[in-house]
């Protein structure tokens, strides 16, 4: 499998200097999705954690009509699925690839092992979670104050 360096968008991830490590991890735990593929389905059990290497993923909920409503968009360096890992809960949303997407898919023991050997990954992932929360706060505030903001 040929891996293109530019696929990893490492500047956005902030893993400068760790490119070799990320390539190794992708060979072991990586997966590619074409656009419009369901990656995680709401209500499923599952303990894997997903880290986006490149591409965009939509966080959605399925409506009664059968259509999917977009709640958020995630890009390189973002993590999802971590809640199921930590609290044994079912998946809370359906995640769909908006573009070609490259992911690391980590089982709980692999996730912890990576954190132990690369503790700075925790900083990056925590930073990504913080930005996602801020974006969600802004979205809700804009709704209540009447400002519109495209998701």
């Amino acid at each position: 499998m040929k891996v293109e360096n530019h696929d990893y968008d490492l500047i956005k991830l902030g893993f400068e200097g760790e490119q070799a490590i990320t390539q190794q991890l992708f060979f072991k735990y990586g997966k590619t999705y074409e656009p419009k593929k369901i990656i995680v389905r709401e209500g499923d059990s599952g303990k894997e954690v997903y880290i986006i290497i490149s591409g965009m993923v939509l966080v959605t909920e399925r409506q009664h009509s059968g259509q999917y409503r977009v709640l958020n968009r995630l890009g390189p360096g973002e993590i999802f699925g971590e809640m199921a890992l930590l609290e044994n809960e079912l998946r809370s949303a359906t995640l769909i690839s908006a573009t070609d997407v490259k992911l690391l898919i980590l089982a709980p023991e692999q996730f912890e092992q990576i954190f132990q050997t690369h503790p700075r990954w925790a900083f990056k992932i925590i930073g990504a979670l913080c930005r996602r929360i801020q974006s969600a706060f802004t979205q809700i505030t804009n709704y209540y104050t009447g400002k519109s903001e495209p998701i």
């Binding site: 809370s92 954190f115 930073g127 979670l129 929360i133």
Partner: protein, 134 residues
């Protein structure tokens, strides 16, 4: 031989600044400028963290002994985007950014605890977004 748990606790005590608050006191308020102590560990008592959207629309999360809170703004900016209030008398350890990162580097459990805390917030706000009319 020193246990892993006691080594971890020693690091907490070494890097943390003890603070005691009475029930009802604010640890920090929304829109307040950040000071040096940004992340808090609860030694005893309970704290509620709120995000206020309007005067009546609020999201809340409760934290208890052993929990960490306050991490959001470490990575985001110059002022608090939530508020934290003591629900009971509380004993806290406050950490600056450098201290938190030292803890995270030394203790995996701290990173996981922080990720858990942030994930709970994210789940709460995502649930709120889902409840908004499309």
């Amino acid at each position: 031989m020193e246990s892993k748990e006691s080594k971890g606790m020693k690091l907490f005590e070494e890097l943390g600044h003890p603070v005691s608050l009475k029930q009802g006191d604010y640890v920090y308020k929304q829109n307040q400028l950040l000071d040096d102590l940004r992340v808090w560990y609860i030694l005893s008592g309970e704290v509620v963290v709120r995000r206020k959207y309007t005067a009546i629309k609020v999201d809340e999360l409760n934290y208890k002994q052993g929990d960490l809170f306050g991490i959001l703004e470490v990575y985001l900016g110059k002022s608090r985007i939530t508020e934290a209030q003591a629900m009971t008398d509380v004993q806290l350890l406050g950490f600056n950014k450098v201290g938190v990162e030292k803890l995270m580097s030394a203790e995996l459990s701290v990173s996981l605890s922080i990720i858990r805390s942030l994930s709970q917030i994210l789940r709460k706000v995502n649930h709120h977004i889902k409840s908004l009319p499309a």
